[in-house]
């Protein structure tokens, strides 16, 4: 039983020595993963807040100021994405992709929502990626509006490597965008905005047709979202339909009246909220 005793003296064993190396490698990887998950969670929260903010465009007159406010918020998000890019410097981004995919999808959702409100078009993957090239100047710029006590990015003065959103994250973010557009449509109806719902329904149909063109040939997560997308579209189409049939009753000369009174009411509301 001598062998056995000897092996119990673990400290000298080459096996234990090897496992100590593994321990370090695994912990390092795990820590990086955890850090990325945290950044991703922050990105998610901040992107969701941006989306909440952007929904206010259906109920205020000064759309521009909301867009500006959302720019500031999205810049903050991009600084967080720069932190991800920094963490991934020299890494295979797919190794940690699971850690940050949720955050990136939510960012795509937010930035494409803002883009739609501003330009009434779908932002492309190229456009999104172009915004994620972090120059030195940009990182300094970005720091200015940081009234919030966000920790200074570890990037400091030196620029982070560019971050590339992969197509499936783009698709998944855009799929979720349709849900927000649906909410925006229903909000507009409530506020007597006639044009937006019709525009939205056409745009949403295009996106829907795009997704059904891709169908189940893409990643599984995308096909899973098709059903929700179809439901969102149906809700928007129903809203437009309702506007049309109700609108058919309105005597032409009253049109102005109606909206004047609506606007007055809305403004009153704003005072409260």
């Amino acid at each position: 039983l001598q062998d056995r005793d000897a092996s119990a003296d673990a400290s000298s064993s080459p096996v234990i020595a090897a496992f100590k190396v593994f321990q370090q490698e695994l912990d390092t990887k795990h820590d990086k993963h955890e850090r990325l998950v945290k950044i991703s969670r922050d990105i998610t929260i901040e992107s969701k807040r941006t989306i909440f903010l952007l929904h206010r465009v259906t109920s205020v007159t000064d759309v521009e100021s909301i867009l500006k406010e959302s720019d500031v918020k999205l810049d903050l998000v991009r600084r967080k994405i720069a932190q991800i890019a920094e963490e991934l410097r020299g890494e295979d981004i797919f190794q940690f992709h699971r850690a940050f995919t949720a955050g990136i999808q939510e960012y795509v959702e937010a930035v494409s929502f803002q883009h739609y409100i501003r330009h009434r078009t779908l932002i492309s993957l190229e456009e999104i990626n172009a915004m994620l090239v972090f120059t030195k100047a940009q990182s300094t710029d970005a720091k200015e509006p940081a009234e919030e006590d966000a920790p200074p990015p570890t990037v400091a003065a030196v620029s982070a490597p560019p971050f590339q959103v992969i197509p499936s994250d783009y698709l998944l973010g855009v799929a979720d965008l349709t849900g927000e557009l649906m909410r925006m449509c229903i909000g507009s109806v409530g506020n007597g905005d006639i044009d937006t719902p019709f525009q939205l329904s056409q745009f949403l149909r295009q996106v829907h047709d795009g997704f059904s063109y891709i169908g189940n040939s893409g990643p599984y997560e995308v096909s899973k979202k098709l059903h929700t997308l179809r439901q969102s579209l149906a809700k928007v189409e129903d809203a437009c339909y309702a506007l049309r049939v109700r609108g058919s009753e309105i005597p032409k000369h009253m049109l102005a009246d109606v909206f004047a009174s609506r606007d007055a009411m809305m403004d009153a509301d704003e005072g409260v909220a």
Binding site: F52, G187, G190, N191, G192, E249, M265
Partner: protein, 227 residues
Amino acid sequence: MSVTEMFADIQGFLSADQDIREDIRKVVQQLEQAAREILTLLQGVHQPTGFKEIPTKCAKAREMFCTVRTHMADLKTKFPAEQYYRFQEHWRFVLQRLAFLATFVGYLECEALVTREEAAKIIGIEVVREEGFHLGVEDYLAGVLIMASELSRLAVNSVTAGDYSRPLRISNFINELDSGFRLLNLKNDPLRKRYDGLKYDVKKIEEVVYDLSIRGLSKEADNAGDK
């Protein structure tokens, strides 16, 4: 203490737990019965004739909440106060219904949002977690959302009953609620799901208001000038 004695003790613990749950279930059933009776009473407001009787019905409902408070007082005696969360699942459903009924009565009376404090008082429980049996934030909000959906129905029926001004007031109220909810950072929990339903209530009421507007009926209401 021998092993046997110890396990006999432990069995005592386990049995006591089951007895508590049995007791709780019984009181909860009575609460559900009471809640159903208040609901039946308040449903009457959707009837054309019901509109005039709102004050009477509210007064009646207020009285019926006495029974609720009695059962609640009883419920509190069934388990140690600090174990609220241990048994919460048993009364969660009925508590949300009661929060709905309390906020609904309150709205019918003075067209304003009953606060969590007031709602808790009507139901006969605390607001603050530390003081024992309380009305948690989630349960209160769930009740408020059920009320919102009831109000969208009320907006439709008040038009039928010829009351053209109420839908506008409901609309303003619901919009205020909606803004409030937008302030919350809801995760993907049951509350979030319920909140998504609120948007449809908002839309439905807006359509009623719109219908009234294009017929000039909302002005008529203004001129008539109740409230």
